[in-house]
Symmetry: C2
Subunit: 337 residues, 2 copies
């Protein structure tokens, strides 16, 4: 089975949304991993809507915080098709969020692996969450676990997610609301990005149910490794005086109140800071600023310091870590904000 058929993009819903809005120019935005899969449907869309011009956003889309409103305005698009994420903020241009649910179900093989794995852990209460693509299968997983005597907790969604049990890179509220009840968190997800975030946010054991690999993977050690690295960067920052405070260029990554409260903490600690506005925070861009700052605080996206700049020559902190450093409260790791 090609990856192409893994996702249900609900093309009919997109066509209906565009027709209802009588849009003439439509901007398509998708995260890099889904872009070529969604674009396989481009000819279909063009055929069904011959009077609509489709324009592609070619930049990366890390989340719906990165909604391509600037691009849409530039090319006078009157509608955005945003693939792979749920709404993050109210857009000024009509936007349809294409949720791209995976067609992968919980196979019998994977169910067996899961039960076998958990049996050995001596746990009773399990927090259950998943990324949007695999959210359809969490009810299945819940039933499976309950039928086998476990108590399963699926928390209410947070401010940047839409469904209960859904997590994104910066919003683990649905896991946090049940955190005190559970012995471990089980997440339906591929990769490391979301499971590691889940561990950093909850500080509890994390097991991943990976539908792509059909594997059950304990990531608790992986999370601890990341946590050790983060404490290294936090310790390095304790004597910093001159901070570069990175501010997002995109509306969904612009948090002026967070910036102001961080600046206040910097001043209270006797330091100074300069704002740096940036669209995409890369090592190269930071290197070109360097020698000007002792440490950086990224207010646009809490994943950048951890996932992209963990090894940078100067410490690069999330807002939560900055709070720890600036108030010298090192007892509990704070993530994401």
């Amino acid at each position: 089975m090609g990856k192409q058929s893994f996702y249900d993009f609900k093309i009919e819903d997109i066509i209906e949304f565009i027709m209802k809005r009588k849009a003439k120019k439509v901007l398509i935005q998708a995260p890099n991993g889904l872009k070529h899969l969604f674009l396989k449907h481009l000819e279909e869309l063009k055929k069904e809507l011959p009077n609509v011009e489709f324009i592609i956003s070619g930049d990366p889309a890390y989340g719906s915080c990165f909604l391509a409103e600037i691009e849409a305005k530039r090319v006078n698009a009157d509608l955005i098709v945003h693939v792979g994420h749920t709404e993050y903020y109210k857009a000024t241009i009509p936007t349809i969020y294409v949720e791209a649910f995976s067609k992968l179900a919980l196979t019998e093989k994977l169910a067996k692996k899961l039960l076998n794995y958990i049996k050995n852990l001596n746990v009773k209460n399990i927090g259950l969450c998943g990324v949007l693509q695999h959210l359809r299968s969490i009810e299945q997983v819940k039933k499976l676990l309950e039928n086998n005597g476990y108590k399963v907790y699926i928390g209410k969604h947070g401010p940047y997610t839409k469904y209960d049990g859904q997590v994104v890179g910066c919003d683990y509220v649905s896991a946090l609301t049940v955190n005190s009840n559970v012995d471990l968190h089980l997440i339906v997800s591929g990769g490391l990005f979301h499971p590691v975030g889940l561990g950093l946010a909850t500080l509890k054991p994390v097991v991943k149910l990976d539908p792509y690999e059909e594997e059950v993977v304990d990531l608790t050690k992986e999370v601890k490794k990341v946590l050790r690295k983060r404490y290294w960067r936090i310790m390095e920052s304790l004597n910093a005086e001159n901070y570069g405070v990175i501010v997002g260029m995109r509306k969904g990554q612009y948090r002026p109140n967070l910036v102001k409260s961080i600046e206040k903490l910097v001043r209270r600690k006797g330091g100074r800071s300069t704002r740096i506005v940036m669209d995409i925070v890369t090592e190269e861009n930071l290197l070109n600023l360097d020698n000007s700052f002792d440490a950086y605080i990224v207010t646009s996206c809490p994943r950048i310091p951890i996932d992209n700049l963990g090894e940078f020559r100067k410490p690069v902190l999330t807002p939560g870590e900055a709070y720890m450093v600036l108030t010298e409260s090192l007892e509990k790791y704070i993530f994401p904000w």
Copy 2:
């Protein structure tokens, strides 16, 4: 001598400009190569203007076409300090262009090298140009050559340059207006970027006078090498049917009329095209779109196909090259537009 003292940033002029405009929030934008040099003056600016907040644009600034207006609006800056380039288009926010003239003069050693080198070429008429940073020394070079019996031509500046004799990566008009009179072009510049562009635009021999290296370098062969590669990409595109037309996100890189005329040529040749709006055109971003297109045409900046994507797995063309392909006019290489 540290690189720091190479450039005259005219800090007093910047202070005066900011005071006159009563700006409260100033966004500083500089190309990556000059950023850390200019930022050495940040504390000086803060001290002289204690009531002004200075914010840094951390993204790259390839030219003044990339003016950080989006960033300025995001952080409510009321003035932009743009370092290293002259004006490209009328900004909607008061902007001072800091011309960053090099303090390097034409040394006796370099003058001798130049005369020795040119003596052996059997030329009489020389076109003379330079990049902004070294423009102060071209009058000196002109005198030197004239005193030694050469006829020197410095052309009128083009639409995207400010001074006669000035060239930028996409505007070689000051060389083109004297092209028919000269045997070779002499350019005062470091690196390869501007000299190679000069050769592609004029198709005449190019000699570089490099004030950093104190060297005279004939780049005619280098230009021919690039030209051969470009013809390879052009030949590969002749049978393309499905074009991705890349449109810039920044105002200075958005050329709707150029886009429309290219799309018309594509249709006339029986092909089809899709617009792709993009801020920074990288190999990674293009790879994520791939299999959808046979070839790409970049309308935002003519240097991207040549300097960054010359080896990409699909041909990526400049507008001039696209014109050659779509009209099957291969006799003369067209650069930049």
